[in-house]
Symmetry: C2
Subunit: 373 residues, 2 copies
DNA sequence: CGCATTGCCGAAACCGGTTTCGGGGTTTCT
DNA sequence: AGAAACCCCGAAACCGGTTTCGGCAATGCG
């Protein structure tokens, strides 16, 4: 009773209106209609508006597939997600996709997404998508400091927009959050609460953002007149487990930090784990700030102070930029930045203990640490 | 030096191999090659394998766009994500997409995704995608108990597969996790730890899964010989805030539950919040179990015990099912179920306090509760 | 007033495929 | 041996668009 009704009527009766329908209604040829709609100069203004009017009235919208075989443009944005990454795209993805598809569908475009297992895989897939006209260009999420995708797409002469600033970002079109500014803000926030020893746990340096955030941290220290202690900065930290290890290392110092700034919320999870294990009260014994505004931050207790990036807006901006670039690859580069919004949480507060008191506390509980390690 | 090299060579020199190339190489006509590849019966077996061999050797793969305009099939799976939902798709999305695109690209298909702001919007978008051949069929995520998309697609005679079991799931093709079994397991787990009063916080009943999970909870109680107390079951809980309210209500009972089972991890967040506010020790004063295996569960402390669904596998299965269905809409329905894997965490344990002791504890701290409400 | 432009549109080829139609060559049957 | 039935494949139309080419009419210019 369900799917076996009308077994052969694959072509729906409420069919799409084609360019032929439109041309017949107007008593023009397909070619003329096509040129009118595509802004060719050899069509009089009067017939042009007549065609456009009729097109709107009849609800005509060209079938992009048919266009693609002749023009080579399929009106679709490509997004290849690499799955092998340590920190999953999970949290930011949904909002990001929302922005992208919103921008795309506003102009009748679609989003083609694919996943890959490795870097080489990504390049192969992108070539394939371009070759088969499944994507006219690409959004590059999670740009690396030295990103092979950029070199590849330059070589292939394919349009793309970066989400993030790579090493050579001056030569690329990009959209990014000013995470370096956020990191400096975080330092200021902590310094104003009275923290003097503020540590930084950074992520893998092949990510473009890690350079920026690290620099932002250091800029913040300078701005607040705090000394930079290299021992307080641990980088190349990939996941919560490694962040936990880094945290233990920091807290084992003679003068441990009273606040820890993390490049991502995910890393902050590791800091939380250690704080819980050492029975440190987060927000007083130890202050923590993350970055990303991810759902994880909402799930932590106390709430992780973090910087929320509007990923939907980012997606929309990137989509619009890419469409413009596809339309004209020789247009000037587009570069845009937004500021992330600080979202306070219970994870920061005035330091309850001095650095020395904290050290004593940790030593007292070191037995637990050994057990956990 | 970057994008302005080779300004006009839009058609790459490493061009795609078309069916014409192939037919010329074989000294056959396009038509014959096409029929050979598409399994027409009027092609001799010898030439068929000759064509197929050559196609592989030359790396020919038909351009799906060109096929689409004649056949009406674009070889792409449609996925429309509704954004207005209370509980975002965020956590499960990335893995789910991975599975989908993996299944799709294995057969040269792609995934077209779109987002919508409302239910009506979703239907419009789906019709549009079908009409413009941007999707041959749809994966329906987060199926509702009485889902308008199902009725709509039936009416449109378009292929689809449900992720979840709706009211009439017997009549649909679906893939789903056996969440009712998981809920029963959860009850058993808690009962074996010594819990006798186990509450359930369920989500909005328009979701298909809430019926199943609720029934699973009750089945678990029966199986363990525990009484069902209607006061211990609160449904239609939409978000963590409402879950927090429900938790306070449960704990304010004369005989409060010593364990709370939540239909989703997100709801468990609200339970955690209240537990923290009331200074209840999670995993001893109060045991909590969620469902979904989301990253949030990893971010909570102690780790939320939950049931992890392999969303990648689900995506792959759904993709394969949909492709089969697009190829033959009259094929028999496909229905498949997997079990979620229990992932223990520190959030469960033997009840440290009896229900009565818990009640006293809560009363003592009720002042805080009032302040928070 | 005549000729060269220009503006505007129809006709037709084209893109990369699919599908229908028809016909030539074998085989089978009587 | 001749007719009927198959088995294959080429030829050509088609899908829904785009783009080139050429020609007709109206204009510009001397």
């Amino acid at each position: 009773m369900r799917s076996d009704v009308k077994p052969d009527r694959r072509s729906r009766d409420n069919a799409r209106v084609t360019i032929t329908d439109l041309s017949q209604a107007l008593s023009l040829t397909k070619g003329t209609v096509s040129r009118a709609l595509n802004g060719y100069p050899d069509i009089s203004e009067t017939t042009r508006i007549r065609v456009i009017r009729a097109a709107q009235a009849m609800g005509y919208r060209p079938m992009s597939q048919a266009q693609a075989i002749k023009t080579g443009r399929s009106c679709s944005l490509g997004l290849v997600i690499e799955l092998s990454e340590h920190d999953a795209h999970a949290p930011f993805l949904a909002e990001f996709l929302a922005g992208l598809t919103q921008a795309a569908s506003a102009e009748g475009w679609t989003l083609t997404i694919a996943t890959s297992e490795s870097e080489g895989d990504t390049l192969r897939i992108m070539r394939d998508l371009i070759l088969h006209r499944k994507a006219d260009g690409f959004i590059l999420p999670r740009v690396l400091w030295d990103d092979p995708r950029i070199a590849f797409l330059d070589r292939e002469n394919a349009p793309y927009i970066c989400y993030g600033r790579s090493k050579n970002h001056a030569d690329t079109s990009y959209f990014d959050a000013l995470s370096e500014k956020s990191m400096a803000e975080a330092v200021t926030w902590l310094a104003q609460l009275g923290h003097e020893r503020i540590a930084y746990i950074g992520s893998a340096s092949h990510y473009a953002y890690s350079h920026l955030r690290r620099d932002g941290y250091r800029a913040g220290l300078i701005q607040e007149g705090l000394d930079f202690d290299p021992a307080l900065m641990i980088e190349e930290v990939l996941d919560p487990e490694e962040a936990a290890k880094a945290t233990r290392q920091l807290l084992a110092m003679e003068q441990p930090p009273t606040a820890i700034l993390c490049a991502t919320d995910t890393l902050a999870r590791g800091v939380y784990d250690v704080a819980h294990a050492l029975d440190l009260k987060i927000g007083s014994d130890l202050s923590i700030i993350g970055y990303d505004g991810s759902p994880e931050a909402q799930a932590m207790w106390p709430r992780l102070a973090t910087f929320a990036v509007d990923n939907r807006k980012a997606g929309a901006a990137l989509g619009a930029m890419l469409m413009a670039r596809v339309r004209d690859l020789n247009a000037p580069l587009q570069q845009d930045l937004i500021a992330a919004e600080f979202r306070p949480g219970g994870s920061t507060g005035r330091p309850d203990k001095t650095s020395e008191e904290l050290a004593h506390h940790v030593i007292r509980l070191s037995a637990d640490t050994i057990r956990n390690d």
